[in-house]
């Protein structure tokens, strides 16, 4: 074990820090969950890409820097420390990107990855349907084969930022009459294709952060399928693994929140109850623990290992940590917690963050489902019924 950064890693950190200091927008962007804010965030993606920071771990031919996971973590730490904006492209770079890297053909990699890294094409996920939430194998939306095309009919829902995004990816039933996990295929589709209707859904905070998608005879070329026909479930599980595991929620995000929370505690120390005080310090410890764990997982993956069902432990931990940190902030703010703008004139990011943190234990596979997976696959407890 060696917990010191090499001179090369330190120099890289410095490079990232300097670039971010010169480029991170001074003004906070409008929320990503609204069209105007989304556009600002896409502009930021392109700014990042101009510095070649779109996705540092990808090979340079796909628009990356060919860096390793430690360097990615350093980049993320600096990114969150600098208060840089949320990534409009997170579903692309963190979820679909690694999926294409693993399962896509060379042609698909060359076609989809560079525009993703450059922020030219923004991606939305389309798994959930009205009748298929936690039970994703209940997907009904069909993709009928017609020559060198699939023809999609049905409905997807809760698709994050699908109102504004360019392309979507998801699972569709390509085998007529197939059941559950069988007969599903992983398809990529242009959200502007004829026959797609997007209906924005207002989220808890009031902005249209996700959308319903209606498909009416939507034609998708067969070459937009990732992996074989009927192999979609396997591919989707890998994508879900990226989502719960290492990529989607890097520790820097939570360490930055924890540091802000500690600062808030210092400001409100004369009001905070001893219990709340200890809770905040404990949450800071949790964010640190999450970081150490991530470094350990990264080291294991770099040595040829992989992350399996442990991704469920991660997902439970970060989502509940995030919610608890924002809840603690709400209590520290006290009567100001409800205000959209705080008395000092700043936007109430804690309130916005608390609202968003409530979704963490729901999306990316609810925490109940993650606890089932943990109990059954990691601990070896028996499955009973729909477990």
């Amino acid at each position: 074990m060696d917990l010191a950064y090499t001179p090369r890693q330190q120099a890289f950190r410095q490079e990232v820090r300097e670039w971010l200091a010169a480029h991170v927008p001074a003004e906070r962007l409008v929320t990503l969950e609204r069209k105007d804010g989304f556009d600002q965030h896409v502009a930021w993606e392109r700014e990042l890409a101009s510095g070649n920071w779109g996705m540092v771990t990808w090979p340079s031919e796909y628009g990356g820097r060919g860096l390793d996971l430690i360097e990615w973590l350093i980049f993320e730490e600096e990114y969150w420390a600098a208060g840089a904006p949320l990534r409009a492209n997170q579903n692309g770079i963190f979820l679909l990107g690694p999926t294409i890297m693993e399962f896509g053909s060379d042609e698909q990699k060359a076609r989809f990855l560079p525009p993703m890294a450059k922020g030219e094409v923004i991606w939305a996920q389309a798994w959930s349907e009205p009748g298929a939430g936690s039970d994703m194998a209940a997907i009904k939306t069909t993709a009928r084969r017609d020559g060198d095309h699939y023809v999609i009919n049905g409905q997807k829902t809760w698709s994050s930022r699908a109102s504004f995004a360019d392309w979507g990816f998801g699972l569709f039933r390509t085998e007529e009459g197939s059941q559950r996990h069988k007969g599903l295929s992983f398809l990529l589709f242009d959200l502007n294709a004829p026959g797609i209707t997007r209906r924005p859904i207002r989220q808890l905070h009031g902005d249209p952060g996700f959308a319903e998608l209606f498909f009416d005879e939507v034609r998708v070329p067969v070459e937009n399928r990732i992996a074989g026909e009927g192999e979609g479930w396997k591919v989707a599980m890998a994508t879900a693994g990226f989502e719960r595991g290492l990529m989607l929620r890097s520790p820097g995000r939570f360490q930055a929140t924890a540091a802000r929370l500690m600062a808030l505690l210092r400001e409100t120390a004369d009001r905070a109850s001893p219990g709340l005080r200890e809770e905040v310090v404990r949450l800071w410890m949790g964010a640190q623990a999450y970081a150490y764990n991530t470094y350990q997982v990264a080291a294991r993956i770099m040595a040829g290992g992989s992350i399996g069902a442990e991704a469920s432990l991660n997902k439970i931990f970060w989502s509940e940590l995030d919610r608890a940190m924002h809840r603690a902030a709400m209590h520290l703010l006290g009567p100001a917690a409800e205000l959209q703008t705080l008395p000092d004139g700043s936007a109430n990011e804690w309130l916005e963050g608390y609202i968003f943190s409530l979704s963490g234990p729901i999306y990316a596979g609810s925490n109940e489902i993650q606890r089932n997976i943990t109990a059954e696959r990691l601990l070896g407890l028996p499955r009973v019924g729909a477990g």
Binding site: R17, A258, Q288, A289, N372, T374, A375, L379, L381
Partner: protein, 310 residues
């Protein structure tokens, strides 16, 4: 930067785990509890594995391992609920003596011929010491009252706390394993109780707690090996988090066992009681909390993502 446990330390820990699983099962705990509490044959077995010399330099007949390697073994001692005072002598006293330059006894300690029970002002007792006996809730713990002039050396405290945290992790892991094993076989309503989500989720929570305390422990051990000035903060983090994980594991495990868990018959109680004992040893939860708060909230320790390994 490489957060992987050293393979040779992991291999040794696995060998110790196997050895203790084979020779130091619950039957042994019961035999010790029935009389004597200590058994020279068990001690001799540990000596033969080289464990008394784990941290003793090779020049003095030991294995010269790091504190991180030592913490991996302390965790195994916790997992097996080992009663012999191996951790106090070989993993706490030895590195402390080495740091002080008191190397005269190291070879004798490595040979297993000398036990060292160190008092510290933070503990109202000395484990496996000599003097007026105190009764612990842990039937296999031998306590005597602390001398009035016990010192308060900070390094000794950190070593004791680190190795207690490591044992707490092992104890918690063992309690989770026992609860899982019971949940797989105990049937009610026509099913193994482990199939019920209320049971699954309770045990999943223990698994989550353990997953996120282990790296804190390794980080603390490495910080001590590296001599970081922030090491006390990391040790306190490990002790605090390991204490919470052990209490959670114990309470969850007894609940999963039902009334069985409330008996002296079922093995669980040995582990649970050791956990309660070690939670208060070498600085209790309050003590370590205050050290963390002082460092992290007080401003001495830098916070934020860019300072993960400060």
């Amino acid at each position: 930067m490489d957060f992987r446990l050293p393979p040779e330390s992991v291999e040794l820990a696995e060998a110790v785990r196997e050895y203790l699983a084979g020779t130091h099962g619950p039957d042994v705990l019961r035999r010790l509890d029935a009389g004597g509490n200590r058994d020279l044959r068990i001690w001799q077995g540990l000596v033969e594995m080289g464990l008394t010399g784990l941290l003793v330099p090779e020049s003095e007949g030991g294995l010269g391992m790091t504190l991180l390697g030592g913490a991996l073994i302390a965790r195994e001692c916790g997992r097996a609920c080992l009663a012999e005072p191996l951790v106090d002598t070989a993993l706490v006293a030895v590195p402390w003596l080495i740091a002080r330059g008191e190397t005269d006894d190291l070879a004798v300690i490595a040979a297993g011929e000398k036990l060292v029970a160190l008092p510290h002002a933070v503990n109202p007792w000395v484990a496996d010491g000599e003097g007026e006996e105190l009764a612990s809730v842990d039937p296999l713990r031998n306590l005597v009252a602390a001398p009035e002039d016990a010192g308060d050396d900070p390094l000794l405290l950190d070593l004791g706390a680190l190795m207690s945290a490591a044992q707490l992790v092992g104890l918690a892991e063992a309690m989770l394993d026992q609860a899982v094993a019971y949940a797989q076989v105990r049937e009610q309503f026509g099913h193994a109780i482990g199939g019920f989500q209320a049971i699954k989720h309770k045990l999943a929570d223990v698994a989550v707690a353990l997953e996120f305390v282990r790296p804190v422990l390794w980080r603390a051990a490495q910080a001590m090996d590296d001599g970081l000035t922030s090491a006390p903060l990391h040790v306190s983090h490990a002790k605090y988090a390991a204490t919470d994980a052990a209490y959670l594991a114990a309470e969850s495990a007894i609940q999963v066992h039902g009334a069985m868990g409330y008996t002296y018959e079922v093995d669980l109680h040995f582990w649970m009681k050791r956990a309660w004992a070690l939670a208060g040893a070498w600085g209790d939860r309050n003590f370590h909390y205050h050290r963390i708060e002082d460092a992290a909230l007080g401003g001495a320790h830098p916070l934020g993502p860019q300072h993960t390994f400060a």
